[in-house]
């Protein structure tokens, strides 16, 4: 047993340790929690010591994985204890158990502040530590000035100041505004003159955070960083306690070099020279030694120096020196150094043009694929993938294939995807490509996605020279005893199309092909059976003159599947059977598949998606993005540069149609005719690939053009110019405000999207080539929560992102923090809380802007937090409806209006429209079948839940007009709801909206407003 300052805690830990199993442990924990709970209930009897003991026990229990959902208040209350031991426990436990959004934390802000500004240094340290661990926005706003004072205070000891620096870093992360750039930049530079290495280390971390957001403001820190680096590298004035295994504070060296990587360049020639001297010293002066810890430390510095050299675009000579070093590292005994050597070589590929020098190390890198450490194997794979080009593709891909048979299960998927991509991108010839993919399917069929075999089929179909070769290869694989189902699919497909080209070879008669494929049928899934049936039909077609025995065999199979439960298979069986009885006519229909249109490889597209990281503020990454040369982008570049790059070798080769029929003439004269009429062939048997949809945009815009009145655009413009206030904002939302300066065209119609979102709760609000804004909403009573999904569609980050909400007076809206930068291909979610204060149709606007390259793009978008979102459907019976209807006798609670210019629609459609707006149609209440009665509940803070009733009387003779009556217990609500319904009926979505009433007087005199409208 152990002695501890807290005997109870030690006893408890011993008990837990002595539990023979998890069950016993749980019992012991539950008992303890029960005990603590009761003790906490009558708090008066607890001494601070006991409180402390119990709180530590709770923390221990929490670490064991049990939820501790009480005692938080006790932990927080210990913070204000006057004595150190209790206070300490309060702070430590609070920062472990609570998160920054916990309500109790707010209660503690004042105590924490008093500790920070107080004279007691140990209290200061405790308070700073807690704030630094879990301080949130509120802490940032109320404590930042005090914390800043501590950092620069001359009377504070380093112990406090270094904590204050990191505490400020946390607060800055929570709210960047708390650090005033103008005032702080000079202070920051002064801080770097600090002699104490502890304070300097913390300050450097703070600087890294600051410069990663805004390097401009901190230029004056750059030369100071170089000075610090010189001081450390020369080992000047470095106290013994900061020398780690003989190396002057490796952490500070690393952090300083990291900070330097956030400055785009070092302009001052003197500073640059000094910096390169230091770097040179580091690069040359590091050796691999026996002591592991010393090795790690010196190489931490060395690898950071390498990163900085890459960043600074050093001369070629220094670069080759770096690569030589890395080449040495990837062969050393020390696994950590091997690992980082490979990783840094991969980074090197991104940043500079050093491919050829790296290629010299190819053999060693391939050896690393067989390293005992999977971490190292992965790095080697990444590097090989990155360094592959036409010159070495054959070697590398073949190595990867060989490795595939022995590779860890965990790596196979990535390995096969990478091999397939490289084979496609850099194939020296097409037959090699077919070989590679077939081998891939053979060795790792489980990991070969459909995309990969679809792609092979496309290439073979489009390249006539390849067809006999591919068919022969497929035939060979079928001889293997057990083959993967994907192999069955691809070989059946290829042999169905092209086995007739092999007819004279041994083992390739139609009968033999059929029987070897048919052997596989019992073991395959339904989707493969469908392919096999097509293959059989094609074999039949190619067997001219017909072989009665083969025909009977195949017909029997078709007959059998005619009653198959899978419709797809049943259909095929029935059709093929019927077709194959037609003899020669079959040929028209079952002729060879048409060539595939040229399109980007879905595989390469997939690879781009896979490789894009969700980036954080890493210097290397930022840099890579600036240069647009990350591996992900290399892929993209090459595939888009289809005309010149080696990729083109695999481009789908167009074969003149004449040569194709000539070719077939020679094999089978009967084929010429059907092939000549290929274009007329019914494309019923679909090629196994997703069809491209270039018309997507057209599709989206299509219905708009049909539905909208021909002058819609023009009239909209008129409305824009004629209106002010809300209406102007509203109209502006229909088109981006500054179309000319934006130079960015939205994709799809913004108004359409908005109207669609008014009726549903998730979808796209806005899209342009760079950004997509999606929305997902939840509504409960008068509260709503919208989540904005801001997605960056590009491979480079979006900067200066800003989202402002312009709420109308009746909505209370709170948008969470929107990050200023959206990393490439990343999506950020920004929740928006909405509260409806009173009925109104005014619309909230999202003012969204971002910067792409040098373009500032700004759009104003209406947000679908519209009136009907606060409606909840309710069905009422006749007994409830009529008394209500009668009690709301006339204006202003019940309003009636004859509406003209209604979009003609059948009654059923109108009912659907009402239902989709949450106005539930109550059938049978109105005896007249041409009328609709609907009910709903409206929620707002002022009205609470309020029943609304509506009646629509239509005229079957003239569908463009109707009479509408709306009733509710609130005059504003009645008016607003009536107007809302009218908007829905008059036209959706593009007709000019009736001008909305000015927000100041939305409902003072509905009658007058109405008159104005008409």
């Amino acid at each position: 047993m152990a002695l501890s300052g807290m005997r109870g805690l030690s006893v408890f830990i011993s008990d837990i340790r002595n539990c023979p199993n998890k069950e016993q442990e749980r019992l012991r924990v539950d008992k303890e929690l029960g005990n603590i709970r009761t003790r906490f209930k009558n708090e008066k009897g607890l001494s601070p010591y006991e409180k402390k003991k119990y709180v530590w026990k709770m923390l221990y229990i929490y670490m064991l994985g049990y939820d501790v959902d009480f005692g938080h208040m006790e932990a927080v209350s210990l913070i204000s204890a006057p004595k150190y031991p209790e206070k300490q426990v309060g702070y430590i436990v609070t920062s472990c158990l609570l998160n920054e959004n916990h309500d109790f934390l707010r209660l503690a802000i004042n105590t924490v502040r008093n500790d920070i500004i107080g004279r007691n240094e140990t209290f200061q340290c405790l308070a700073l530590t807690m704030v630094g661990n879990i301080g949130g926005r509120e802490f940032a706003e109320s404590l930042a000035p005090d914390v800043q004072k501590l950092i620069i205070s001359s009377s504070c000891r380093p112990l406090v100041r270094k904590k204050a620096a990191l505490c400020l870093l946390r607060l800055y992360r929570k709210n960047p505004d708390v650090v005033n750039v103008d005032g702080w930049a000079d202070r920051m530079a002064q801080l770097l003159d600090e002699r104490d290495l502890g304070v300097l280390t913390s300050s450097m971390s703070l600087l890294v955070a600051l410069v990663s957001n805004n390097h401009e403001a901190y230029w004056s820190c750059l030369p100071k960083c170089v000075k610090i680096l010189e001081r450390l590298a020369r080992n000047q004035d470095v106290p013994q306690e900061y020398t780690y295994y003989g190396i002057p504070s490796p952490w500070l060296q690393v952090k300083t070099m990291r900070a330097l990587q956030y400055f785009p360049t070092v302009e001052d020639p003197n500073t640059r020279r000094s910096l390169f001297e230091v770097l040179q010293r580091i690069l040359m002066g590091t050796d691999v030694v026996k002591n592991v810890n010393k090795n790690n430390a010196s190489h931490a510095v060395l690898f950071e120096a390498l990163a900085l050299v890459m960043h600074l675009d050093a001369e070629k000579e220094m670069m080759s020196q770096c690569i030589a070093l890395l080449g040495k590292f990837i062969a050393v005994r020390e696994p950590n150094i091997r690992y980082l050597g490979l990783e840094n070589m991969t980074r090197m590929l991104m940043v500079t043009d050093v491919h050829d020098i790296i290629k010299r190390h190819q053999a060693q890198i391939i050896t690393s694929l067989k390293d005992p450490d999977i971490s190292i194997r992965r790095r080697a794979l990444d590097l090989l993938y990155g360094m592959c080009d036409v010159s070495n593709a054959k070697d590398i891909v073949e190595e990867l294939l060989q490795y595939l048979s022995t590779a860890d299960f965990a790596m196979r998927e990535e390995l096969s995807l990478k091999a397939a991509i490289l084979a496609e991108k850099f194939a020296p010839d097409l037959s090699w490509y077919v070989d590679v993919i077939l081998q891939l399917i053979d060795k790792a069929g489980d990991f070969v996605s459909d995309d990969i075999w679809f792609r092979v089929v496309q290439f073979v179909t489009n390249n006539e020279d390849l067809q006999p070769y591919a068919a022969a290869k497929a035939r060979e694989y079928l001889d293997k005893p057990a083959i993967h189902e994907t192999m069955v699919k691809v070989s059946a497909y290829l042999l169905g199309e092209y086995s007739h080209l092999l007819a004279r070879r041994p083992g390739c008669s139609p009968k033999e092909i059929f029987s070897i494929i048919h052997e596989k049928l019992p073991t395959v899934s339904m989707s493969t059976v469908a392919i096999l049936l097509s293959t059989y039909a094609k074999i039949l077609m190619h067997t001219q003159p017909a072989d009665p025995e083969l025909q009977n065999q195949i017909w029997t199979i078709f007959n059998k599947y005619e009653s198959c439960i899978e419709v797809e298979i049943q259909q095929r069986a029935v059709e093929y059977f019927a077709l194959s009885r037609k003899g020669v006519a079959l040929m028209d229909i079952l002729a060879e598949m048409p060539k595939f249109p040229e399109r980007q490889s879905s595989l390469i597209k997939k690879a781009e998606d896979v490789e894009v990281d969700t980036a954080e503020q890493s210097a290397i990454k930022l840099r890579a993005q600036q240069q647009q040369t990350s591996t992900a982008l290399v892929v993209a570049d090459q595939s888009s540069a289809n005309g010149t790059s080696p990729v083109n070798q695999l481009g789908l080769v167009k074969v003149p149609s004449m040569s194709s029929s000539v070719d077939h003439n020679s094999t089978d004269p009967g084929m010429a005719q059907p092939n000549g009429t290929l274009t007329k062939v019914d494309p019923q048997p679909q090629p196994p690939s997703p069809s491209p949809s270039p018309d997507l945009l057209g599709d989206l815009l299509g219905p708009l053009a049909i539905e909208g009145p021909p002058v819609a655009g023009e009239s909209e413009q008129n409305v824009v110019s004629g209106l002010e206030g809300v209406a102007a904002v509203d109209a502006a939302a229909i088109v981006p405000v500054t179309v000319q300066t934006n130079a960015v065209e939205p994709i799809g119609n913004i108004a359409e999207r908005f109207h669609a979102l008014c009726l549903k709760d998730s979808g796209v609000l806005y899209e342009d080539p760079y950004v997509q804004i999606g929305i997902k909403a939840e509504w409960r009573g008068h509260h709503g929560r919208l989540v904005l999904f801001l997605g960056n569609k590009n491979t480079s980050p979006l900067f200066s992102v800003q989202a402002l909400i312009l709420p109308p007076s009746h909505l209370k809206m709170e948008l969470s923090l929107v990050p200023e930068t959206i990393p490439p291909r990343a999506q950020v979610q920004c929740p928006l809380e909405v509260m409806n204060l009173r009925p109104s149709r005014d619309v909230a606007v999202l003012d969204f802007s971002y910067k792409f390259n040098t373009n500032m793009v700004n759009v104003k978008l209406r947000l679908p937090a519209v009136l009907n979102k606060f409606l909840q459907p309710i069905t009422v019976s006749a007994e409830e409806f009529f008394p209500q209807w009668r009690s709301l006798s006339g204006p202003p609670l019940k309003l009636q209006e004859v509406v003209r210019g209604v979009r003609p629609m059948p009654l059923l459609e109108m009912a659907n429209l009402f239902n989709s707006c949450h106005l539930i149609v109550c059938p049978g209440l109105d005896p007249n079948p041409n009328n609709l009665v609907a009910s709903t509940t409206f929620y707002s803070e002022s009205t609470r839940a309020m029943l609304c009733l509506t009646r629509i009387e239509t005229d079957p003779a003239d569908r463009t007009q109707l009479r509408m009556t709306v009733a509710s217990g609130d005059p504003t609500l009645t008016f607003e709801l009536k107007e809302f319904i009218k908007e829905q009926l008059v036209s959706i979505p593009t007709a000019p909206r009736p001008p909305a009433p000015a927000p100041a007087a939305p409902s003072n005199d509905p009658g007058a407003m109405l008159a104005g409208l008409l």
Binding site: N336, D373, S375
Partner: protein
């Protein structure tokens, strides 16, 4: 930024788990289990780096060091240098060793509160606070003066693997 520090024994029992961005308790346990799942399969002569993207999300790195019966694990993002993190683990363990004289797993189990105090003097809100073990010990001693319960407790049970000194076994 350092996202998490974990200390667990070679059976997967957590001895310390500190998360610098908040994780609910179930998630914490899940992460500890996943990390142990990866670590327990690794031999001794391999690197100290493990691919952690699948556990903690893309761009996360994990370094660990194995001492006697314990794994010390740091999880951090790409703004930190991997080897420097490895050095920091060493500083942490050396500091423990100086505090407890031949520190072993049992010391860590019973001096749970002290372990927290030491870690808080080395890592602060996910950032490196102090790298000199001498400075750390000074700070911890100052705290101990204020808080008598934090004076180190010694293990009285002499048997079993959990009394193996961490550092002797490592070197």
């Amino acid at each position: 930024m350092i996202k998490s520090v974990m200390v667990m024994n070679t059976q997967g029992k957590p001895r310390l788990a500190k998360f610098y961005d908040f994780q609910p308790v179930e998630k914490q346990q899940e992460l500890i289990r996943s990390v142990f799942g990866v670590l327990c399969g690794r031999a001794d002569n391999v690197s100290n780096f493990v691919e952690a993207d699948s556990i903690f999300g893309p761009g996360t790195r994990l370094v660990y060091k194995h001492f006697a019966t314990l794994y010390f694990v740091f999880i951090f993002d790409s703004s930190e240098n991997e080897l420097a993190m490895l050095d920091l683990i060493q500083v942490f363990v050396e500091t423990l060793d100086k505090c407890f004289k031949n520190v072993c797993e049992l010391d860590i189990v019973y001096n749970y509160s002290k372990l927290h105090t030491i870690l808080d003097e080395i890592i602060f809100g996910g950032q490196v606070l102090e790298t000199s073990s001498i400075e750390v010990i000074k700070a911890v001693e100052e705290i101990s003066k204020c808080s008598p319960s934090l004076s180190p407790s010694t293990c009285l049970s002499f048997f079993g693997p959990s009394t193996r000194p961490l550092l002797l076994c490592y070197n």
